[in-house]
């Protein structure tokens, strides 16, 4: 009866974490993923040799394709990030030449792809909980958790207000020159801000009512299994190999 009742009130908002456990990468312990991916990203960001950058890019793409994460959303996210990656590489293209520019493009892409795999393959709360378990200061992980939690609530509020605006005939907002539309949109933003402030106060009271003392940790914690350790070992060894090869290149 309860399940039916819940379904009867089905929400239409997409849940970004919905499929995060449906593939092997998603089932890995978030700590293993964070440590593995970040060590890979740090090493990749420091590579200077074109061959090694190409190798790191191949590794990142291999991780993306074998992770089991649907490739369509991953590619879309990468496409969205691409203009920024190109923009970041543009100055290098202009001032240091094509070769250096391409290296910058490859290096940034390898890092972005690896981070996208981490983001798409891990539930948001799992990611923050993993960070906390890795001794990231509670003020950071707790703020991130609460921010994510209430971004969903505020975005629902925003979407309700957008519907209300449309229901009352508002069709503006497509042009920056439409001053009336800009005025209405700024009022909406202001209202959301005021509501968010009020809500923040209530959320604080809600936290205090439940004994909150500055730290949110997850109750059901996992232990690192064989798969987690194997994944971590592969990424750490790959990163070490890249780092060693890079030092060799620098020595020559």
């Amino acid at each position: 009866m309860i399940v039916g009742h819940v379904r009867g009130h089905g929400h239409t908002l997409p849940n970004p974490d919905e499929h995060s456990k449906s593939h092997w990468f998603g089932r890995l312990d978030s700590r293993a993923k964070i440590v593995g991916v970040f060590s890979f990203v740090i090493v990749s960001a420091l590579l200077t040799s074109a061959e090694l950058i190409a190798a790191s890019l191949v590794l990142a793409v291999a991780m993306a394709t074998t992770s089991g994460i649907p490739l369509r959303p991953l590619s879309k996210a990468y496409a969205a990030a691409l203009p920024f990656i190109v923009l970041a590489s543009l100055s290098v293209f202009l001032f240091a030449g094509t070769e250096r520019g391409l290296e910058m493009l490859g290096r940034t892409s390898a890092c972005v792809v690896a981070l996208l795999v981490l983001a798409f393959g891990t539930g948001t709360f799992d990611l923050f909980a993993g960070m906390r378990r890795l001794r990231v200061p509670s003020v950071i992980s707790t703020l991130l958790m609460l921010t994510y939690r209430y971004i969903l609530v505020v975005s629902e509020e925003f979407s309700r207000m957008r519907t209300a605006r449309r229901a009352r005939g508002f069709r503006g907002g497509r042009s920056l020159l439409d001053r009336y539309a800009l005025k209405i949109l700024s009022f909406t933003a202001g209202t959301v801000l005021v509501r968010s402030t009020d809500r923040a106060e209530l959320v604080y009271e809600g936290l205090k009512c439940r004994g909150f003392s500055g730290d949110i940790t997850v109750w059901r914690t996992s232990v690192l299994g064989r798969n987690d350790l194997a994944f971590l070992a592969v990424l750490i060894m790959s990163s070490c190999a890249l780092a060693l090869a890079q030092t060799e290149v620098m020595r020559w």
């Binding site: 399940v3 009271e205 009512c209 003392s213 997850v218 059901r220």
Partner: protein
């Protein structure tokens, strides 16, 4: 044992607006009490004040014998369960069971597994343990919020408009649930029908207390209802109309059970009356 005692409690906002004035109230252990009143009557403010969020205030408030003040607020709050009007303001964790465990873990209470199970089972959300609470319906979120409070085993439950925003089915399910909970409760509501089903007695608040009594007393006081802008629930309204048409109503019913009993009595009386008249005419 008196769980909550308020003596001449008053509170004004920073801009000088008086939100509460001279509120006296005493709730015994196990009692369920409603604060009814129109919007802006100070109902939510009173609940938040009892939970130690409106300081400083005038008068004296004692929760389980402890005097409420800034230094004791945290300790007192730990023995109180406050249900917010919007459950989204008090659900923080990624899954239902994590959220129910949130309070007991913060308070370092023992036997968390058992508390979480009991909390979820008592409000009927045990089957949703692994679900993300922010994806549930509004009514279910309210249940999850209540489960979170029950897991903390509070001496006093403060419920702010528990039935607001619920569809009829969720509303009646929640009323049934609150009725079945053996807890000391103070419920702020303007839903007189729901209050009639749940509470033992009520206090009518319009910044200051207007009257105190049972829900029967309240629905009988049409001047109080009119003064405070409260609306009589449909059931007593129907029976009031029958009374005005000359039918003898013993007590204005507040619940469907009371209404069917009153209606049966009324039909019996009328049938006897008609039979007597017919016998007389023969």
């Amino acid at each position: 044992m008196v769980v909550l005692e308020l003596r001449k409690v008053g509170y004004s906002y920073e801009d000088g607006t008086v939100a509460l004035k001279d509120v006296d109230l005493a709730i015994e252990e196990g009692e369920k009490v409603a604060i009814v009143g129109p919007n802006g009557a100070g109902k939510s403010t009173l609940l938040h004040l009892i939970a130690g969020f409106r300081m400083p205030f005038q008068g004296e408030a004692l929760v389980s014998g402890k005097r409420l003040s800034a230094p004791t607020a945290d300790e007192i709050r730990n023995s109180i369960g406050l249900l917010f009007q919007d459950p989204d303001d008090q659900i923080f964790m990624p899954t239902v069971e994590e959220d129910v465990a949130f309070g007991p873990r913060n308070l370092k209470l023992g036997d968390i597994e058992d508390r979480v199970q009991r909390g979820m089972t008592s409000v009927g959300v045990a089957s949703l343990a692994k679900r993300a609470p922010h994806r549930l319906s509004y009514g279910m979120k309210k249940r999850v919020a209540i489960a979170g409070l029950l897991a903390m085993d509070p001496n006093l439950l403060l419920l702010d408009e528990p039935t607001s925003g619920l569809d009829p089915r969720s509303r009646s399910e929640l009323i049934k649930l609150l009725k079945s909970l053996k807890r000391t409760m103070l419920i702020a509501t303007h839903d007189l029908e729901a209050a009639s089903e749940i509470v033992d007695w009520a206090i009518v608040l319009n910044v200051e207390p207007v009257m105190k009594g049972t829900m029967h007393d309240l629905v009988r006081s049409s001047d109080v209802l009119e003064k405070t802008g409260l609306e009589m629930p449909p059931l007593p309204r129907i029976f009031r109309a029958l009374e005005k048409r000359g039918y003898a109503i013993e007590a204005l019913p507040l619940t469907t059970d009371q209404a069917s009993a009153e209606l049966t009595r009324l039909i019996d009386r009328e049938a006897t009356h008609v039979r007597r008249r017919m016998n007389g005419s023969h």
